[in-house]
């Protein structure tokens, strides 16, 4: 049996988490390669649809990386995102996904090592959870 390689989507904010990822890259801090990053201008832009879509299409985990509270480039998009993601977690449960598969973290632009750490931790967490399975099909 081959080892379980989780499929993970990371929705990251352009101003912070994405910059941190870039810093991690240029500082040669390696993080698991099976993370597909999608750059957003702000986490406030992340529609619950995207997260649901990702899970229903077979993602095992979704990571959202935004600016620290008070630090959002657009004032409070990150806090709006936090609310929305809390709600999305509840919906995920109805589809039979563990809410832990969706994780929101604040990562500042200069926190390359934190970015690496978060990615590694998340992959480990998802690996323990195993592949994501839905009990409810729906097409988005």
């Amino acid at each position: 049996m081959t080892a379980f390689e989780p499929k993970i989507i990371a929705l990251v904010c352009n101003w912070c988490a994405y910059t941190a990822a870039d810093l991690a890259g240029t500082s040669r801090l390696s993080y698991p390669a099976h993370i597909r990053m999608i750059r957003m201008m702000c986490t406030g832009m992340i529609d619950s649809k995207y997260i649901l879509k990702a899970f229903l299409d077979g993602a095992d985990g979704v990571f959202v990386g935004g600016c620290h509270p008070g630090d959002c480039h657009y004032i409070d998009g990150n806090l709006k995102a936090k609310k929305r993601i809390l709600g999305t977690g509840k919906i995920l449960e109805q589809f039979g996904f563990e809410p832990e598969r969706l994780r929101l973290r604040w990562i500042g632009a200069s926190e390359g090592p934190e970015f690496q750490q978060n990615m590694t931790d998340f992959v480990t967490a998802i690996k323990t959870l195993g592949p994501g399975q839905t009990n409810n099909r729906m097409v988005l």
Binding site: G25, T26, P32, M40, K53, D57, G70, I75, D76, E111
Partner: protein, 983 residues
């Protein structure tokens, strides 16, 4: 010789960046130079800033016309169409006359060709010179060929010629031949420079000079900047708090304030202004990181929490994080018995000598007293930013930078130097919307590096099978000029209207996309760059790597195909301003705009211009304001509406309509492009300390006024008592008013001069004489004014006993009560903002809990509000001294010029658009928009987007229940497609 009409900005720290951007955004060409090989000045070393404890530098980036600049982290570097940046460059001389200067600069080569360097680091490993690294404050070593800052883009190395031995090892090791050891500086003569701005910052004091503190030989005594590196996750311990000497986890840390500042012995008769909050912030961050075992202490003389929000921050640090504030001068730091810890000796407030051990001591160093501005800084046509004269906090630096750009801009406009012509946005994009999407993919193979590590046949085959019209090309190295040219030549010959560049770091290419677009006719928003290299670096085996690359390519392809640009909306800018409030700030702003030929409507509630005189007693300031009033009254472009107020306002940046009503009930509508609010403040009222119960108990403002009167008299050996911070710096009015200490000191000095026999006492909590006003404090002490500190638990008491005024306090040194019979008591009651609730709701702004109008960001955008086109300045925003308020007025005017100098507002790309057929007018978007860029168009019954104010953050799109909103370049179907492709 370079023919040049650029304004030269010297120093690329935040002040320099601010000035450069200010000018660039108002259509000037700018050349920004710095002697360091990287940008950012001291801020490049700091990851955390008060008040949110994170970096927010990116908020300085342009918010209108964003497409001219970058949309990513500013610490990575700066890029703007109108700004040319020269690093490792110094000024040799400035000659000529104001408006037409000749500047000679010398530029050191960086040694590494950025176009060829691939960042492989081979050079670094071959270099055998090792010295301590300035960026990490000496906690790390670096080579003579090194990376000046970790975040800078492009992150190629530079050679430090001062330490390089020119041995050639790096050159021989470089696989791409990008190293050149010719270190001859190049001398350039720039002619026709219309103005120069000096924003070089100040040099920090080297505490090695104070033997007493052991800096330099005790490894656990560090400077505050060095501690910032310890806190940083790109620092020596990845942000964990270890101490340098033995790696012990830090628990007990002391901050020592005023090292090298406020010390007349070394000629430092000034306060370095920013260090108090710097220390509080560091102590707070450290305490949080350490957790419950943290024992942090700050040793200080006066805690200078003079900013609007500083006192509450400090209080929180004290209460929540348990930071100990100890008032004393530390007299020595020595090694502790175990030889690792350090021993701090000081005299506590009751005069007892105390020795205390700490894990580490942090020295708050300020400006170096020996630091001097270059001689050419005083030339005409050369403008010096205040932050290059004395150490300043970020807010101060940002405001003073805008003041300098306002002055430079003004002098240049007088000389009639042409601004850049505003180019109409290219119309060749028109056709794109009609055309079928066609995509060109350019794969950079990074020399030969990527050839063997990827399965190219599979990539080609799979890309061919993807739906849509796709062309693929492979180029050996697009980062060098040949590759770039090859790509441009190829793109000119295609009919593709979308471009996907798979290369290395996208941030390197983003600044070049606009240029690429001009060459090839493909819209910049239809280009995307992905980082092939990093994917390859991350993944391990060939199949996996190839799969990852294909995945990313497909994600981008899906997104690019989903883009559907529309021609951005344009609308004309009304070339006039509305200024509310005719105090020092408002008047200054009015003049700044009027001299640049913009019409100004000045609305003032009272019948008199000049603002609140009670705040402005010094003869000098009064005179300045009087001149200002006359100037405003006589300026043909300024219309004064006195005894008038604003009753309604709507519109967008560039075109607001405001109704005002004057006292005689006349109503008028004004059309204006920008709004500046300078609503000011007034003296606070009080009932404390038996005020009004006896006419010898007055407020400080009343005393000042009485002092001007010829018949003022107190007995020749009178006892005069000043009480500072009356009702201030404690809840509910928990802020410092900034003006009282200085006023009390000046009044005290005057009294001592007139009545040498008198006794003058000042009860104070902290004397807030920041910057050079410290000299007044020194003078007051010399004049024999007596200072008695008090704290909130031990406030002085004032009693009236059969007509006599008794003041009682306690002397902390003697720990004994003190009594005086006072002939005069002056209460420093501070200032409060004028009520602005109406205005705030009319303009849809926010206030602080004390009623000050809140700015967009207290550090990075201090005079902007959350709404573009509306600016604030003066006491209405935050307590300030008259000269500071006037500076804010200039800064606000400078910000306003970004809009007024445009003929048309050009929407940036990546803004929101509404698909009206799907919109149910639920107005959710209007509530969530953080920039007030959404409004209801009642005529059309539609929710509209103001494209000038919209920043494209997409909160509206995510909130829309009907997916009626789309954000250009972040279309829903594109992201959904990318998600599909990713899985």
């Amino acid at each position: 010789m370079i023919k040049n009409t650029k304004i030269l900005v010297v120093g690329a720290g935040i002040s320099g960046i601010r000035s450069a951007l200010d000018l660039a955004e108002t259509g000037h060409r700018v050349c920004l130079i710095d002697k360091a090989p990287a940008m950012g000045g001291i801020l490049s070393q700091l990851d955390h800033q008060f008040p949110d404890n994170h970096c927010g530098m990116c908020r300085m980036l342009p918010m209108i016309d964003r497409d001219n600049g970058q949309q990513f982290c500013l610490r990575k570097g700066l890029f703007h169409e109108n700004i040319e940046i020269l690093l490792s460059t110094e000024i040799i001389s400035i000659e000529g006359n104001a408006g037409n200067l000749t500047v000679t600069i010398s530029r050191r080569p960086q040694g590494v060709d950025p176009d060829r360097c691939t960042g492989c680091r081979d050079c670094e490993s071959e270099c055998n010179i090792e010295i301590s690294d300035e960026f990490s404050a000496g906690f790390r070593k670096r080579k003579a060929i090194y990376l000046p800052t970790p975040h800078q883009i492009p992150n190629q190395r530079v050679i430090d010629w001062d330490t390089c031995s020119l041995c050639g090892a790096c050159r021989d090791a470089c696989p791409t031949g990008s190293i050149d050891l010719d270190n001859q500086p190049e001398t350039l003569v720039l002619e026709n420079i219309p103005a120069v701005i000096i924003s070089t910052g100040v040099e920090l004091y080297d505490p090695g000079h104070v033997d007493l503190y052991g800096f330099g030989h005790l490894p656990n005594v560090v400077t505050a900047t060095a501690f910032e590196r310890i806190l940083s996750s790109s620092g020596p311990y990845q942000g964990r708090l270890f101490r340098p000497s033995d790696g012990k986890a830090l628990k007990k840390i002391a901050w020592i304030q005023c090292v090298g500042s406020r010390n007349i012995m070394i000629g430092a008769d000034y306060c370095s202004t920013a260090c108090c909050m710097f220390a509080v912030k560091e102590a707070l961050l450290a305490s949080r990181k350490i957790g419950k075992d943290a024992r942090t202490a700050i040793f200080y003389m006066d805690m200078r929490t003079f900013g609007r929000d500083f006192q509450r921050y400090k209080d929180r640090a004290e209460k929540d994080a348990g930071i100990r504030f100890v008032r004393c001068r530390v007299h020595s730091i020595e090694p502790a018995e175990n030889d690792k810890d350090i021993l701090i000796s000081y005299i506590d407030s009751s005069g007892n000598p105390i020795d205390e051990t700490f894990d580490m001591a942090v020295l708050s160093t300020g400006k170096n007293p020996e630091f001097q501005l270059p001689e050419f800084a005083s030339r005409e046509g050369v403008f010096t930013v205040n932050s290059a004269r004395g150490f300043m906090d970020i807010q101060g630096a940002v405001i003073s930078a805008s003041v300098a750009s306002e002055k430079a801009g003004r002098s240049v406009s007088k000389k009639g130097s042409a601004l850049l012509q505003q180019r109409p946005e290219k119309l060749y994009f028109d056709a794109v919307c009609e055309e079928k999407p066609q995509l060109q993919i350019v794969l950079c193979t990074c020399g030969d590096f990527l050839k063997p590590v990827l399965d190219w046949d599979r990539i080609k085959a799979e890309l061919k099978n993807m739906p849509g019209r796709i062309e693929i090309a492979r180029i050996k190295m697009i980062c060098d000029q040949n590759g770039w040219d090859e790509m441009i030549a190829m793109l000119r010959n295609t009919t593709a209207n979308r471009l996907l560049l798979a290369a290395c770091n996208p941030l390197v290419y983003l600044p070049r996309l606009k240029e690429l677009s001009q060459e090839t006719g493909i819209m910049p928003s239809l280009m995307e760059v992905i980082n092939l290299r990093s994917m390859v670096d991350q993944a391990t085996d060939l199949a996996f790597r190839t799969r990852a690359v294909l995945c990313e390519l497909e994600m981008s392809i899906r997104r690019l195909f989903s883009h559907n640009p529309v021609e951005p909306a344009l609308y004309p800018v009304s070339k006039s301003a509305l200024i509310v409030g005719a105090g020092p700030a408002g008047l200054t702003a009015a003049i700044s705009l009027a001299v640049r030929d913009f019409k100004v409507s000045l609305v003032e509630k009272t019948s008199r211009l000049g603002g609140n005189w009670s705040n402005i007693q010094s003869a000098e300031s009064r005179e300045t304001i009087r001149t200002l009033v006359t100037e405003v009254e006589n300026h043909p472009l300024i219309t004064i509406h006195s005894e008038a107020e604003v009753i309604q306002s709507f519109g967008n940046p560039g075109r607001f309509v405001t109704r005002i009503r004057s006292n005689n009930k006349d109503e008028k509508s004004l059309l204006h492009g920008v709004t500046i609010l300078a609503t000011g403040g007034r003296a606070a009222e009080t009932t404390a300390y038996s005020y009004r119960k006896n006419n010898k108990i007055t407020t400080l403002f009343e005393l000042e006024e009485r002092l001007q009167q010829p018949d003022f008299a107190v007995g020749s050996n009178a006892t005069i008592v000043f009480i500072q911070c009356v009702d201030s710096r404690e809840e509910p009015r928990n802020y410092c008013s900034r003006i009282c200490c200085l006023k009390s000191l000046k009044a005290a000095i005057t009294l001592r001069e007139v009545y040498p026999q008198s006794q003058v006492y000042i009860f104070y909590r902290d004397i807030m004489t920041y910057g050079n006003s410290e000299q007044v404090y020194t003078q007051a002490r010399r004049k024999g004014v007596m200072f008695i500190p008090y704290d909130l638990e031990n406030k002085p008491r004032v009693r009236i006993e059969s007509g006599r005024i008794m003041v009682e306090g306690s002397d902390p040194v003697l720990d004994e009560p003190v009594f005086f019979e006072a002939d005069l008591v002056a209460l420093a009651t501070g200032i409060v903002p004028n009520p602005a609730a109406d205005l705030v709701s009319i303009f849809n702004l926010k206030t602080t809990c004390d009623g000050f109008i809140r700015e967009a960001d207290s550090k990075w955008r201090p005079v902007d509000t959350g709404r573009e086109g509306i600016f604030i300045c003066g006491v209405g925003r935050s307590p300030s001294r008259a000269n500071e308020a006037m500076d804010e007025g200039k800064a606000a005017a400078q910000r306003a010029l970004r809009i007024l100098s445009k003929d048309t507002m050009i929407a940036s790309r990546h803004t929101a658009r509404v698909r009206h057929v799907f919109c149910s007018l639920c107005e959710t978007c209007m509530h969530v928009c953080p920039h007030g860029a959404r409004y209801m168009d009642f005529e059309l019954q539609r929710v509209q987007v103001d494209h000038a104010a919209c920043q494209g953050c997409g909160v509206c799109a995510a909130g829309c229940p009907n997916s009626a909103t789309i954000i250009e370049s972040f279309e829903e179907n594109g992201i959904m497609g990318a998600i599909e492709a990713a899985l």
